[in-house]
Point group: C2
Amino acid sequence: MQQPLPPGSSPAPSAEALFVTYRVRADAAGIDGRVRDICVEQTVEVTEPLFRDAFFQDEVLGRVESLQEIAPGDWEAVIRFPADVIAGEVTQLWSVVFGNISLKPGVRVTAVRPTPGLARRLGGPGLGIPGLRAMLGVASRPLLLSALKPMGRSTAELAGYAYALARGGMDILKDDHGITDQRWAPYRERVAACCDAVRRANEETGGRCRYFPTVTAPADQVLDRARFARDHGAGGLLFSPLVGGPDFLRVLGRETGLPVMAHPAMTGAFLGAPDHGVAHDVILGSLMRLSGADLVVFPGFGGRFPFSKDQCRALDRALKDDLSDVLPSLPTPAGGLTLERVPETLAVFGPDVGFLIGSALYERSPDLESNARWFREMVDSRH
Amino acid sequence: MQQPLPPGSSPAPSAEALFVTYRVRADAAGIDGRVRDICVEQTVEVTEPLFRDAFFQDEVLGRVESLQEIAPGDWEAVIRFPADVIAGEVTQLWSVVFGNISLKPGVRVTAVRPTPGLARRLGGPGLGIPGLRAMLGVASRPLLLSALKPMGRSTAELAGYAYALARGGMDILKDDHGITDQRWAPYRERVAACCDAVRRANEETGGRCRYFPTVTAPADQVLDRARFARDHGAGGLLFSPLVGGPDFLRVLGRETGLPVMAHPAMTGAFLGAPDHGVAHDVILGSLMRLSGADLVVFPGFGGRFPFSKDQCRALDRALKDDLSDVLPSLPTPAGGLTLERVPETLAVFGPDVGFLIGSALYERSPDLESNARWFREMVDSRH
């Protein structure tokens, strides 16, 4: 083997780091090897003889900060990765947290925390909850969101829904995440029409409703679609980070100045096994927040997806609690939220929450505007 | 509710479609509801009263093509999604296959097959196995690959390895997937130096070794890095589609004309539960191929990841068997492949395979060039 980089020839290693908590299944004899394996697999990914030098130990490899057995055969390990390994890249953040190690059984990520310097380099939300509230002119009440749907409706129909819902007092209207560029309502036609509909409604009511089109798209069209949306007056953007690439959350926000809403499509892949994957509050919480989501959509408890109240509480904390000066992201429970469950949802998330109601709002009566107004009044009266 | 689009106002629905096979857990009383739910969740995602019209049934919703109980409580459902739902977008392909439904338990994707017209719109590999072989001038033997590693080595060291391995007769040298733009070997400096090293080696030996740098990067830098690589003589590109966005595979190939190698980082998220997620040969097979990967790296059997021989055989078929005229992708088993396991690996994959050997090649002796030559001669003699 050739020699490693002599210590004098590189800048001093940084104190900045990423701390990742893994829950690992192993017996007492095997646990040291398993956590050592994570330290290696997520950085140098070579066999031991190829990185024995102190340089690798000090500057490149993951290092076990703490290790304890939290249940028989179930360990919690906190591993520190040097920030230099992540190189300030959101993509590399995801890869270091759960890239190669995803391919081994019995490893689940339960927490992710960067030091402040690394957090600053990654960026986080451009606006966060405070910026979003300022933009919408809503100081403290929960935000009200609905979706333009379903796929198959024409541009004129979707724009009609947008007009009615904006007039009824909704704060944010988003495309359904799967409505991208289908022939029934092609992207540019739809976005121009819905922007126009919301603008008209706002002019008539004095409201500040904002429309968030879906910009999940072919990789070389995401930014074009986002710029088109911004130039036509869209008030934000909806993106599915696991489908389109997590770092687009950050890029979309920085490029357009608009708030970016993350959709949970495909995140369920990380949640399907109790002893593998990435915990709810990390995949939809810390990681989305660190990747730049101003709002995060996820299944609320009691809806058509099996998220529990406790998982929702943990997610709420991951999006709002202190995270090395990264701005907080707005939790936006959805997925079959009904009007009746609004009070209970408010009790879990507090007023810093977005209520995203789709079908239930459309179903209440054929008059969407009055449905929206009823919803708005109900929330106003409870706040 | 407003009325659906009148049939006369839209073009005729296409016969093109995507067929997705799901394995679903349910009892006999529940199975119809569960597969109906997939048909709805992956398309219109609204409650039944909002899409009762024939238009939605015929043109938008998924439709159950077949359903059978393959074991007690374990069903196989083939669902047909109209191609119009996918709109020719690789991102929407992933979203329709396993977007929202990933958030529900007991659903596993076991096959994905587009009709030829949809497959053509999606694209698939730009070169595939035949194009790659023509480019490398290797008619029929297995391709030999190694990695430049580990992270922490300097540009000069990595370029030195590239030179030695190219001289020793390797066909392809790739960056380690996690070596992106760290300070030890920044992207542009490293790529320029490694391209130069491989060029020199080729000039000296008359060989055609090609270097594939990692272009997993911030979303707004992926194409810049790829163009830089191409302009400096890189012979291909390595990308982690789950970390960076699957559709970049396609875009990278089309934009540069270079072969694109997919890395499996984070794909393990889909594999952690037996009754949930996406099967090995779909996530690393059909989906990578349809997304444009010319080569797919995955853990070979018997290495440091728990992939079985049967899983590798299925993956091999998914990458090479007929798939609506999409070009075949080269299976590239890795992840602790040792020189001793080469014959057995050849027996599983046949000669259309890439052997990706990292640590084992570096460990054999301090003389990387002679290690590579020994590996090349061993494969030549067995072919």
